[in-house]
Subunit: 336 residues, 2 copies
C-alpha cells in the first residue's frame, strides 16, 4: 500500500536527479538554490497521489510534478521580493542573497522552466492539463494582487460587505482561495487528468483541494497568534506587528462590540503610541475576550470537514485515498 | 495580393477586439496600458505572414500572434524595471507610472496571459508550437542575463576571445541572438508550424529570422551613433554615455591601433575626468578615425544578405514572400 511517505520520496527523487545549473550561471545558480531549499513539496506530492488515485502511471506525470513545484517556488521568489522578506525556509531570500534584478529574471526563468517540465511528457489530455495549469497561474497572480491591495485597507466590521477601503471576510476568503487554495486544487486536478479520470471525479477532487487549501491558510493565520514558537520556528504575533488583515482580526471584528471594534481598529492603524509588544498583548487580549481561538478553530474544522466529505464522495479505490487522508491529517495536526 | 500592410492591419484588429482590463484592476490596468502603447507589432505580423506563406489559415494562428506580442511586451516591462528606464515608446514605463511591485506582478500576469492566448486555439502541432515558444522564452531570459553581465565587463580587443571580464564580438553576437533574434525567428517558426510546413522549410525560415534579427539589432546599435535624432526620436550617443558595450565599441576596438585602443578603453571606463558630451565627441572621433560606420554597415549588409538568401531558398509561392521582403526592406531602410 502506497502511503504519503512513498509519494514524498518519489518527489524527492525527481528533484535529486534534476540538474538546474546551466549557463549563464548568474541566472541559474539562484534557481538551483531556490529549488534545493526544500520545503514540504506538498503540491507535486498531491499531483502524483491524485494520478495514482485514478490508476494512472505516475512515471508519466513526473514532469508535471516537477513543473508545479517549480512554478510554486517561482511565485515565492517574486512574492519575497515584493514583500521584502529577508528569509525563506530559514535561509536568505534570492533578492537578499543576490539582488533585485536577479530575483526578477531568475524568477521569470523559473516560470519558463516550469513550462518546460510540463511540456516534457505528452498526454492525450495535455491541452486540458496546460489550460488548468495556466488558469491556476493567473488566479495565483490575482490572489497576490488582492493580498497587496488588502495591506492598504482597513478591517470591515460585521455586516459590511464591500465597504470601500475595508476588507470583508468574503473578500478575504476569495483572496486566499486564489493565492493558496487553487494551486493545491490545480495540482490534484492535473494529476487526475493524467490518469484520465472522469470529469465528475476530477471536479470533486478539485473541490477537495480548495477546502484543504482554505483550511491550510486559516491554520496558518491561527498559528501566527497561537502557534508554538519552538515547533513552528516563527515568533508569534508577526501578523499583528505587520498590521496584516488575516482571518484573525477580520473574524474578531465580527465578534467585537462597538467599543472593542474601535480599539481593534486603532491598534491595527497604529493610532495609539505604544510599543510593538504592548500592541501584540492588547490585540491578543481582545482576541481572548471574544473567544476568537475557538471560533477560528470552528471555521478550520468546517473546511476540513468539507474536504473530507468531498474525498469520501470520490468514486475510487479507498486504499488509494490513503495518502490524501494522511496529508489532510498532517495539515490538520499543525494546530496541536 | 496580401502585403505587409495587410498583415499589420490584421494584427491591429486582433488587439482592438481584445479586452485586457479585468479584476483586480490594479493588476490589469498596467497590462492594458502596456499592450495598448502600440509599437511596430513586428513579431505577430511575422507569425501570420509565415503561416500564410505555407498556405495556412491565419484565423487559426491569431491566438498565437496575440500571445507572442504579449510575451514580447512582458519582457520589455520587466527589462525596463531592471534597466530603470523611465520611458518606453515615449510614455512612462509601468514601474515609473505605478511602482516596482506592480511592474513585477503585472509582468508575471502578462506572461501567463501570453500562454492563455497560445492555448486558445488548438492545432495538430500544438505541442511542438508550445515547445518552440517556451524554449524561445528561456533563450530570451538567458540573453537578458548575458546583457546585464556585459554591463559589468570591459571591451575585448582584437584577438581576445573569452578574456575574463571582457566582451568579445562572438559573445556579443550570441547575446543579441538570444535577446533579440530568437523571438523573431520563433514567431516565424510558429507561424510555419500552424500552416503544417515541412521541417526543412521551417528550419530555413527560422534561420531567415535569426539573420533578420541580428541585422535589426546591429542597425539599432548603429543608429545610436549615427541616427537622425529627428527621425528616430532618440538622442544619439546614449550608449556611449551609458558605457554600453554594443557592437560599435567592440568592432572599433578591433580596428584601433594600440594607442587608440587604450584611449577607447579609458573613455568607456570613465577614467578621464571629462564631461559627457566631450566623451561622446572623443569616442565618435575615434570611430571616425578607424572608419567604423562603413565597417558596421558592411556587417549589417552581410546579415541582411544571409537573410535574403534564406528567404530565396524557401520552397513556397513567391508572391507570398512579399510581406517578409517588405519587412526586411523596412528594417534595412532604417539606416538611411
Amino acid at each position: 500500500m502506497k502511503d504519503l511517505k512513498y509519494y514524498l520520496k518519489v518527489v524527492e527523487g525527481i528533484f535529486e536527479s534534476e540538474v538546474f545549473v546551466a549557463e549563464p550561471k548568474e541566472l541559474y545558480e539562484p534557481i538551483d538554490y531556490t529549488l534545493r531549499l526544500g520545503g514540504k513539496r506538498i503540491r507535486p506530492t498531491l499531483l502524483l497521489a491524485a494520478d495514482a488515485l485514478f490508476g494512472g502511471n505516475i512515471e508519466e506525470a513526473k514532469g508535471a510534478a516537477l513543473g508545479i513545484e517549480t512554478f510554486h517556488n517561482f511565485t515565492l521568489l517574486h512574492d519575497d521580493l515584493m514583500d521584502r522578506s529577508p528569509l525563506r525556509r530559514g535561509q536568505p531570500t534570492v533578492y537578499c542573497k543576490w539582488d533585485e534584478n536577479t530575483a526578477i529574471l531568475s524568477g521569470d526563468t523559473m516560470y519558463a522552466l516550469a513550462w518546460r517540465y510540463f511540456l516534457r511528457q505528452p498526454s492525450p489530455r495535455l491541452h486540458e492539463i496546460l489550460q488548468c495549469f495556466n488558469e491556476t497561474a493567473i488566479e495565483v497572480c490575482e490572489g497576490q494582487q488582492k493580498d497587496m491591495n488588502f495591506e492598504r485597507s482597513g478591517v470591515a466590521t460585521d455586516g459590511e460587505q464591500h465597504c470601500r477601503g475595508r476588507v470583508s471576510i468574503d473578500e478575504y476568503m476569495d483572496m486566499i482561495r486564489q493565492k493558496t487554495a487553487v494551486l493545491l486544487a490545480g495540482a490534484l486536478k492535473i494529476g487526475a487528468l493524467y490518469a484520465g479520470a472522469p470529469e465528475e471525479e476530477v471536479e470533486k477532487l478539485y473541490r477537495f483541494g480548495i477546502h484543504l487549501g482554505l483550511a491550510f491558510q486559516l491554520q496558518d493565520d491561527l498559528l501566527d497568534g497561537y502557534g508554538d514558537t519552538a515547533v513552528f520556528g516563527k515568533k508569534t504575533g508577526q501578523d499583528i506587528r505587520d498590521n496584516k488583515k488575516t482571518y484573525l482580526p477580520l473574524r474578531a471584528a465580527q465578534l467585537c462590540n462597538g467599543e472593542q471594534q474601535r480599539e481593534l481598529e486603532n491598534l491595527f492603524a497604529d493610532k495609539d503610541n505604544i510599543d510593538e509588544e504592548e500592541k501584540v498583548r492588547r490585540v491578543m487580549a481582545l482576541y481572548e475576550a471574544v473567544g476568537l481561538k475557538g471560533e477560528v478553530e470552528k471555521a478550520i474544522g468546517a473546511e476540513f470537514a468539507l474536504a473530507e466529505e468531498m474525498l469520501d464522495g470520490i468514486v475510487a479505490d479507498e486504499e488509494r485515498k490513503l495518502p490524501l487522508r494522511e496529508l489532510m491529517e498532517m495539515l490538520n495536526g499543525r494546530k496541536k
